[in-house]
Amino acid sequence: MEVRVEETPFDPGAETNAFLARSASAGGAVTFTGLVRSGRDEPVSTLTLECYRDLALNQIGEIVAQAIERFALLDATVIHRFGTLRPGEPIVQVMTLAPHRQAAFSAAEFLMDYLKTDSPFWKKETAPGGKEHWVEARAEDDAARARWQQGQK
């Protein structure tokens, strides 16, 4: 497994290729890439992610270890950026590798649900006019994480 928390941009395609190149005997790999969003109703000029890096490495390491055990993954990688990003830039990439596709899909979703609520990043959006606000934690994200604990999946 690999966990990276870094300020420098990453190339999603190159990361996927490197992950696949390591996956000699597996059946299926899933890549999820989260990008900075900017909607018509809520345009964003930049998104700044603050991070507690030591805690992020511990938390994400634990989440990935849990995912590997729960879904019997052969490998998993999480890359998470911090710093100031523009719309369309990759924030996070999750890659999972399993003998069959369902485990790879489920594990990617599990990892993202846990990253939302349990990894120490805080997002501040800056609108085109310069107005800033901290993104609030969402109840939907707590609910998405909770369903993994209730055995609904």
């Binding site: 805690l55 511990n58 990894s119 934690a137």
Partner: protein
Amino acid sequence: MRILYFASLRERLNKGEEEVTPPTSVATVSDLMDWLAANDEATALAFERRDVIRTAVDARIVGPAAPVRNAAVVAFFPPMTGG
């Protein structure tokens, strides 16, 4: 002991970290929050709603009853918005 503050909490307190020496009576995270609040008005206000403050001791997430006497770094922060 080093105290870290992140995100909106850091902005509210206008500091990202500070070095403190709590008295030996401060045994838990909850005690530490009481002590920090008693010594600083801005902290008292920021710590008013404890249900929206998360804590880590030495880069591990803990609850209010966690011990802090041997901690090197205690961090306070709002709910996380990763991913």
